[in-house]
């Protein structure tokens, strides 16, 4: 036994050296010629499609900018990795990209609370698809301060919650029931509803939180919940769950023969085709909100979507790709406005002053207090039209 110690020690040493070589030897970081940007997103797992959209959208912007000569002549080096929706991996990647010289981190749509908190801790700007905005950016609620270093161009649960709440007040005579998941995603939606309800003196007929499995997209048994919602007498229900569970919900109420319950969705319902694919015929008529820019795409967006499909083998673009594309261009503008300064403090100051940036997802602004670009005024109410396979605007 004693004899093997030197052998193993040698193996361990070689491994350690290999490790040092692999991770320590990276590029030169941000220099006069290059600007490093880090990207973190969950590209595997049941909802890996969102992470892939984030990476693709960012990559597309980076490629365009580099082809057109870069930012003030400096090329962008975009380095990204899969966080597997795991906080440890996300933390490790964050620190790795910062040491690789990244001036800002894009993402993560899957571990937003991690990147937002680390951005504050390490004083590095975090930009783009940081979960679904909302509570991830404003951890203490919509009326409190946001994370100082986090700037979300992502879909914003506060905005969707507020918009859907306003619609429900006018269109649900017997009130609204809500079923939401207990992460910042569901709680953000809840906070959006609550804000509007508080202002207008309304309340939920019934509200319940239900734990879900984002990793597998596995469905929980919803029968008991459906019964309670029917018993509450609500005329509408907002289902703020995974797209898979929302699809299960509409199918189950159809199986149970319930027809007089209007189903509302959330920001992810129409962010990609997951919900409509899974829900099938029972998805017809489900109501949600959509970025006005997506409902009435302008020529620039249509052209961009064409380019996206060409670049990524026909992959359908969606809001997560669009808003990640915008994030890179926002960064470009901020650096250019600061005469090429790429230190974190300059970038943060620039982001705090961003006004009316014309992006694919609309006219975008940040202030010291507002660290999400999308608000409920940029949204339009839509319903799924099965026959046309389209989300169509409703009154």
């Amino acid at each position: 036994m004693k004899r093997i110690i030197p052998v193993v020690t040698a193996i361990a040493a070689v491994t350690a050296l290999a490790l040092a070589g692999c991770t320590g030897g990276g590029g030169g970081g941000t220099t006069d010629d290059t600007i490093v940007i880090g990207g973190i997103a969950g590209t595997t797992g049941a909802y890996g499609a969102v992470g892939i959209a984030v990476i693709n959208g960012s990559q597309m912007a980076v490629d365009e900018i580099n082809e057109a000569g870069g930012i003030d002549g400096r090329q962008i080096e975009f380095t990204w990795d899969d966080d597997a929706a795991d906080a440890t991996k996300s933390s490790q990647l964050f620190q790795q990209f910062v040491s690789d010289g990244a001036v800002a981190i894009l993402g993560s749509p899957d571990t937003g609370p991690t990147t937002a908190a680390l951005g504050d801790q390490m004083q590095i700007p975090v930009l783009g698809a940081v979960d679904d905005g909302g509570l991830t950016v404003y951890p203490n609620g919509p009326d409190e301060d946001p994370f100082a270093w986090t700037f979300s161009t992502s879909l914003n649960t506060f905005a969707w919650g507020g918009k859907l709440a306003e619609w429900s007040i006018d269109n649900c005579p017997n009130g609204l029931a809500m079923l939401h998941d207990p992460t910042t995603y569901g709680l953000g939606g809840l906070a959006g509803f609550e804000q509007v309800f508080k202002e207008t003196g309304h309340d939920f007929v019934y509200v319940e939180s239900i734990t879900e499995n984002w990793g597998s997209g596995a469905t929980v048994n919803l029968d008991a919940e459906i019964q309670k919602i029917v018993d509450s007498g609500a005329s509408c229900v907002d289902v703020w769950l995974t797209p898979g569970d929302e699809a299960t919900f509409v199918q189950e109420i159809a199986s149970l023969g319930i027809t007089d319950l209007k189903v509302l969705g959330n920001d992810v319902t129409n962010a990609d085709a997951t919900f409509t694919d899974l829900a099938g015929p029972e998805g017809d008529g489900v109501i949600s909100a959509l970025l006005t820019s997506d409902v009435h795409p302008n020529d620039r967006l249509l052209e961009w979507q064409g380019q996206y499909r060409d670049k990524f083998d026909g992959l359908e673009p969606g809001p997560f790709a669009e808003l990640s594309y915008d994030a890179v261009y926002i960064l470009k503008q901020v650096i250019e406005d600061a005469d090429g300064a790429t230190d974190p403090e300059s970038i943060r100051a620039g982001l705090n002053k961003l006004t009316d940036f014309e992006g694919l997802t609309g006219s975008l602004s940040f202030t010291e207090q507002v660290h999400t670009t999308i608000n409920k005024e940029q949204l339009t109410m839509v319903a799924w039209n099965l026959a046309n396979k389209k989300w169509e605007p409703i009154e």
């Binding site: 049941a46 890996g48 319940e208 499995n213 048994n221 898979g244 159809a254 199986s255 023969g257 997951t274």
Partner: protein, 303 residues
Amino acid sequence: MLQVLLSGLTVGTIYGLVAMAFAVVFYVTKVVNFATGQLLMVSILLTAGLVRLGLPDWLGVGIALIASTVLGVIIYFVAVRPVLKFDRFSFAWLVSTLGIAIVIQATFAIIFGPASQPFPRGLHQIPVHLPGATLTVQEILTLVVGALAVLGWELVRRKTLVGKLGMAISTDPEIASTFGANVTAYAVGAFAIGGFLAGLAGILVGPITYGNPYLGDTYGISGFIALMIGGIQRPAAAMGGGLILGVLSIAANSYIGAQASDWFPFVLVLLVLLLAPNGVFASGDSLRKLFRRRSSLTVGGRA
């Protein structure tokens, strides 16, 4: 009340079938196959994929069941048999079955993509209204299949020579092999039945969920908990554990709150473990014997 009971039994039957898949394998080989959940996933995803390609539902289901059964046997030969051959009492199978679970999951994610796929809704679209409860034909089918699985297993085990030899192997493979029982054949059979039961559970749960490569973990863990409630020694008891878990989860959901189903089953399992260490349905103490034998055989084997 009736609705809670029936919904709970339906879900519980699914958990119970997965638990039985674990238990049948454990019964013969004393191995916990951590890829059991992945076998369930394989049958769901294959059915969804084949139906999407245009095959009729029944054919998709048939192929998927065969696939999960065969895959169960492959797992035995690739990940279990070599390990047991080296040392019948080592726990290395924990790593190898887990490893193969990861391989299956990632491979299916590469083939089918990580996103969910719709599963044919089939019989789940036909509601049956009872006084005080509504079920679908699919759910009734689930209950029937669950009952048949338990009855079939018990009949074979108690009434046939094959089953009695199986019991002998389960008690002591070395002695059983001395009077002619082919232990390998029984192990292959156990993994095949395990794969089939897991596949069956997948087909039955498919219409209320979706095809997704990561489903295995979710149902694997539920089945594993059911296994512990019921007791790992007897497959029929594992089904009982599934039913208890299903009914109590739904009851907790209905009477305590939606998130109660997160913690209630686990607190229950902890109570079961503290009060009835061998599971609520276990009568004997074969597990204790197994572990006593383990220590005496590994150590003083030549006595």
